[in-house]
Amino acid sequence: MLVSTKWLKEYVNTQDLPPAELGEKITRAGIEVDAVIDRSEGLANLVVGYVTDCVKHPEADKLSICQVDVGGGEIDQIICGAPNIAQGQSVIVARPGAKLPGGMKIKKAKLRGEVSNGMICSLQELGIETKLVPKSYAEGIYVLPEKAEPGTDVLSYLDLDDTVLELGLTPNRADAMSMLGVAYEVGAILGEEVSLPEIEYTEAADSAESMLSLEVDAPEANPLYVAKVVRNVKVKESPLWLQQRLMAAGVRPHNNVVDVTNYILMEYGQPLHAFDYDSLGSGNITVRQAKEGEKITTLDDTERTLSAHQLVITNGTDPVALAGVMGGANSEVSDETTTVVIESAYFASDSIRRTSKDHNLRSDASSRYEKGVDPNRVIPAAERAAQLLAELADGEVLAGSLVFDQLDKQERIVKVSPDFINSRLGMKIRLEDMLDILSRLKFNTEAVNNQLIIEVPTRRQDIQIEEDVVEEIARLYGYDEIPATLPRTDATPGGLSPYQAKRRIARHFLEGAGLLQATTYSLTSEVAATQFALEPTETTRLLMPMSEERSILRQSLLPHLLESLSYNTARRIDSAALYETGSVFLKGQDELLDEQEHLAIVMTGLWIDHSWQGEKTAVDFFVAKGIVEGLAEKLGLELSFERGEMDGLHPGRTAFILLDGKRIGVIGALHPSEQKQRDLKETIVVELNLATLLTRETEALVYTQVSRYPTISRDVALVLSNIVEAQTIEGVIRKAGGKLLKDVRVFDLYEGDRMEQGKKSLAFSLRYFDPEKTLTDDEVNAAHEKIIQALTESGAELR
């Protein structure tokens, strides 16, 4: 909502506050002023000029040489390039020394040999947006609608000595979508009265009923309809003040009839529509629900097919307007129009919202109806329109109106006690102060038995319950006056749940291990949605995605995380290790999705880069596996790994991660072709169902006494077929080791040239220990011998 402060003063005394200060007061009271726009910004020394003579420039087709009376008896020659310049026009002249927006300064100049003492201006040159400039002047200079005294200062003559407040309205404050509504708000803030427009006009002898009949067949959607008939109108340009007010309000002037309806829309917040009476052709207006498939061409020259729940205005047979949204092209007011039907109506907000949404068509009218208009302004707005058409279009207003009225216009009563208000706010506002605020709001209030009985004006549809009154009192009393206290509730322990605490432990572990936390989008493409998914399900698609790239909910974190990796390597960050925790979205039994919190890790490039001491290690499977194992240990869980395959991963370097034999994750090297496609070098990925890890209860931690007795080590080196896995051999060792075997660790792997084809050498370090005593060599030898035997039996060859 754009509010001209100059126009606003017509309804309320703004106490000569500078606009910025007024804006600040409005903001602090609850309606945010987004911008304070000085309409005269950058403008100086502009005067009204009168073109006394205008001839074509002999040297240039498109230029005219004008003699312009600029006041004070001076006639200046000005060269003008506008196609619509003509003798006898009052125009805006920027004389040498004048300033225009953008820092342009006007100087005396010569154009193709002819002297030009300044410039004749278009409205755009004065900083007005093209879309607001009347169509007839959009391509040229602006011609003042009435002859004006040459030399007059343009700023005040055009009402450009004005500041506009741009209000950012929240949906509850539909009342401030009008100048009068803003005037009431400002009046309440400043403690000033609001003066309403005085409506007076002379009625013709003939009655409106003699020319028009009205029928409303949809009283629910249209409980109030008023039509007035104005005869003998002269459709023409509106007077300057009206054009300027509309432009200040962000509305483009058209002709006096249309401008009057728009003016009242801005003034009262009540949408009006003007029909060309003769085009109706029936002398009848019928409001009804549309017929399914019925068609109408609206004012924006679009043919629209209607549905039965949409409300239309008809001439008794055919639709002439989409009620409350937009008029029909068939009944539009044109220059030839002589008789006008003015519609002022109350349409139910649901109906308008639905229709406006169906047709993806929002207008100044529909946006007001959607939020609800003031039932008590429908009739005055129609009268105001009649008055202005009489004044500005020389119209003859027929006596009376056609009215269909089933609308409840009663004020709502809200009862609230001063104690309630104070207890909600934590304040001690005196009753007098509350009454003062309510009276400034023009809410009729009676204080009876410690109860405020408030009659809420119908313009304030947002005030419905006690709490709404609390807010009105608080905002006008001032939130700065509220003290700062803390809740007096019983102290609560608060704290993280075990799940949340463990999630933080996991995160801190991963960061300590050298991973950077990343965040990616949940919405992805069809292709990426299930790639790397541990348990892919049917995908979940948005009804109306904004793009294919963001249309499906992800089932794995890896695709986006890998994209982040590629993003970095494309910027020559060759080494990166990222992790992310977040939800994946699977189809479940419930109507909601099965959301599972996952953890994913991606790493590429160097893991250790300390080359001056000769340490330089690329990421590999085992770096990632070590992190997963470390995480499990931190969480008190035992994971196992089994060789596996997954699309996109290297078939020889992939393992599933198991918890209690159940697959909960995958770890692997990216498949070389996948790497190539993503423009990545050797890349390792992990994805785990984190929720499973975190929901698992862990055992209580009990200390084991540190033994006084030493452990004794024995090594064993084996030659094996290279398909035998270390964990198989470890299993053999542990099984045969008995209770003295404390620990088994791989300490060497050799698969080089010195080995027979298809063989590898694997060496283990075994540690023996007895918590009760120092082991003797004989005891250790006996245990070790058993292991060697078992290994030999299993096909391993001692080295």
Binding site: Y479, T492, T519
Partner: protein, 345 residues
């Protein structure tokens, strides 16, 4: 014999002084004091002396031995020290070379902000509540006093999956779910999480972003309690000398509703580019829980009241760290992420 001893002594003392290394000195010790050394020889030769001269000679040998030993030991200390010094000298390293980097990762800046806020409210006895990101229309809108067709629904253009299921547009449904689950009992929670709105991604908009909301419900919870709580939050997050101001606003789920501004932490209130010359920065929205919301969750709104607040960690991180583009949070540029390593305390 006496002369021979004197001669040996002088010889030994000279060699001791001449020895330059521990090894040379050890050789001198072996040569003169060892079992096969000349002084031992002198002792062995004492058998040939008359018995009365033997004690005198024995004493003399001991004196010579003691003198040589003393000199040797003194020289040894010196040479050993010299040897250590030489060794240390040779072991000197270039301490200016870089250290072996310790592995360090760090949280995402949004996590950092969220955790800081969480910790503050945890210390005030709040719990953290979480809920699904794919939500029912009921919890996302209806239970929050936003029935179908409510004009305020336009404020939050949503991603629907079916007519009744959508990606949550705020974390408020977690509040609604918590209230419903608590069955009328008092509540003190904060709800962090991801939310989604139909916005084109640009420098200031993101179709996915994070929110953190708070809810307190109890007997006699007042607007002043909200103000006090937010004031503590503002000081903790943005500095002790921050002031707050509340401005009336509108949210369908609270009444009265306010927006909270803090005095600009960059200019202190005199006006700068961060606060757009106003001296104030808008941080969050808040209000007293709307009675309809309480009633819908089964609370007696006459007996229990509450306040709620909500903010965007992206906005807070952008303000706090001066980040100019919201998309940085989601591209995961390592050069961006690694900047949030160090503490600010």
């Amino acid at each position: 014999m006496e002369a021979r001893l004197q001669e040996l002594k002088n010889e030994a003392l000279a060699k001791i002084q001449a020895a330059q290394t521990v090894k040379e000195l050890t050789d001198v010790r072996v040569a003169y004091l060892g079992k096969k050394g000349p002084i031992t020889d002198v002792l062995k030769g004492m058998g040939k002396l008359p018995a009365e001269e033997r004690p005198k000679m024995g004493a003399l040998v001991n004196v010579v031995r003691a003198e040589v030993t003393e000199s040797l030991d003194a020289r040894m200390v010196l040479l050993e020290e010299q040897a250590i010094n030489e060794k240390l000298q040779s072991e000197t390293i270039d301490i200016s070379l870089p250290g072996r980097p310790a592995k360090t990762g760090n949280p995402h800046p949004l996590t950092r902000v969220v955790e800081e806020i969480e910790d503050l409210f945890l210390s005030m006895g709040y719990e953290i509540a979480e809920g699904p990101e794919v939500e029912k229309d009921y919890y996302n809108f209806e239970a929050l006093n936003l029935p179908k067709g409510h004009p305020a629904r336009d404020m939050q253009d949503s991603f629907y999956i079916t007519e009744d299921i959508l990606l949550r547009t705020h974390t408020s449904p977690v509040q609604a779910r918590t209230m419903e689950a608590k069955g009328g009992e008092p509540i003190k929670i904060i709800c962090p999480g991801k939310v989604y709105r139909r916005d084109n991604d640009d420098a200031t908009h993101s179709h996915q972003f994070t929110q953190i909301e708070g809810l307190v419900v109890g007997e006699d919870i007042r607007m002043s309690d909200l103000k006090g709580t937010l004031s503590i939050f503002a000081k903790k997050m943005f500095g002790e000398d921050r002031e707050i101001r509340l401005r009336p606003s509108f949210f369908p789920f609270t009444e009265p509703s306010v927006e909270m501004d803090i005095s600009c932490f960059k200019c202190g209130g005199s006006g700068c580019n961060v606060c757009k010359k106003t001296g104030w920065i808008e941080i969050l929205g808040a209000g007293m829980v709307h009675p309809n919301v309480l009633e819908m969750a089964g609370y007696d709104s006459k007996r229990l009241t509450g306040f709620a607040f909500g903010m965007g960690p992206e906005r807070i991180a952008m303000l706090k760290y001066g980040i100019e583009d919201i998309r940085h949070f989601y591209t995961n540029d390592v050069r961006f992420l690694t900047q949030f390593q160090r503490t600010e305390l």
